[in-house]
Symmetry: C2
Subunit: 215 residues, 2 copies
């Protein structure tokens, strides 16, 4: 369960802030990528990476953040952010233009997962988060590959969600302006799977897995 702290409370437009676990989980579960912020020598870095939720924690790929890991023995202060844009909100004034979106910030100290079984479980969660059904079809990591993969784990204890939905909200007097107003939906969509030419050549009979069929 998350709680609003002085660091996660949504201040600018408080109505958009949510601190309940169900809301935070649903936004995390719907996002493909997360963006992990950390600081090295007073310089902030933000790295996009794959992740998954594991109950009241998130686990994420640490390879891209190797820079950060070199500077931290077992844990490091991070901010993990996800943002899903649902629509561009077109108001009658420039000032009231906005986005419909769902975002989450998680603050805390990310810990390196060292136990092999835990690491394997985290990789399965990340794989199933990206593409449910894929994990069972592919060659699992070897001991060497597992060793070469960094996984980090971060508690959801200090987290907040921000959500905007609905039509534009204009200044009262602006509703008299004859300007088209409304929302333009935006969504991440999956296309038709493109087979690897080497597979088509060597195994022309392999059918497209069900989890890759257009929905």
């Amino acid at each position: 369960m998350s709680e609003a702290t002085s660091r996660t409370r949504v201040r600018r437009i408080p109505d958009r802030g949510h601190y309940d676990a169900a809301t935070i989980h649903s936004v995390l579960d719907a996002a493909l990528l997360c963006h992990v912020g950390f600081t090295v020598d007073e310089q902030p870095y933000v790295i996009p990476t794959l992740f998954a939720r594991d109950g009241e924690h998130v686990v994420f790929h640490g390879s891209a953040a190797s820079r950060m890991l070199r500077h931290a023995a077992t844990s490091v202060p991070v901010c993990l952010e996800v943002a899903i844009v649902d629509a561009i909100v077109l108001a009658r004034s420039v000032f009231n233009h906005s986005m419909n979106y769902r975002s989450v910030l998680v603050l805390g100290a990310a810990e390196i997962v060292t136990d092999d079984e835990e690491k394997l479980r985290a990789l399965e969660l990340i794989s199933e988060h990206v593409l449910p059904g894929r994990w069972a079809d592919v060659r699992p990591p070897s001991a060497k590959e597992l060793k070469a993969t960094s996984v980090l784990r971060l508690s959801l204890k200090e987290a907040s969600a921000k959500i905007r939905t609905g039509p534009p909200l204009d200044e009262d007097e602006d509703y008299a302006l004859p300007i088209w107003a409304g929302v333009l939906p935006v969504a991440a969509t999956r296309g038709q799977a493109v087979p690897d030419p080497r597979m088509t050549q060597e195994f022309p009979g392999i059918p497209l897995p069900a989890y890759l069929k257009p929905r």
Copy 2:
């Protein structure tokens, strides 16, 4: 023109690193959101926000980062990141699964734009970045609204792009496995515009602007 520094050089898979302005510009210009990292009291934060490229700079909305601005007089160290996912890359092994993506990191000190004309120009660039054509149709910001809007400006001098394209790359021996391999394209698509009910009621005759028509 950007240059690779010890802080921006892509280390983990160097072939994916790009430091030329044309590549960096094209990735920035194709992204809808950016993710801005900054540090307050040793805690990193990452905020999703709208932005635009202005030649060899990026300008971005600073309101969401008000937390950061309260702590910095005129400039603040940030990392601005954009990431566009083009496909999920399905290899024969878990380990070689990947994403086709285009990402950019920009490091530097973001400066607050104080001049009203510069601020207005930045807002126009941001608006045209999100939805070209919209700016000319709507009520421009009042002096009061302009004052209430924070805009930050960051040089592209220290920036790098990372790009992956193409089919999965598996271990030699894994090509003998009869596993479906290839890429699953992912794209952000725009749907059909939804009019604000208050506009439909008060101005039923306003046509859908050309820039909102499905492409």
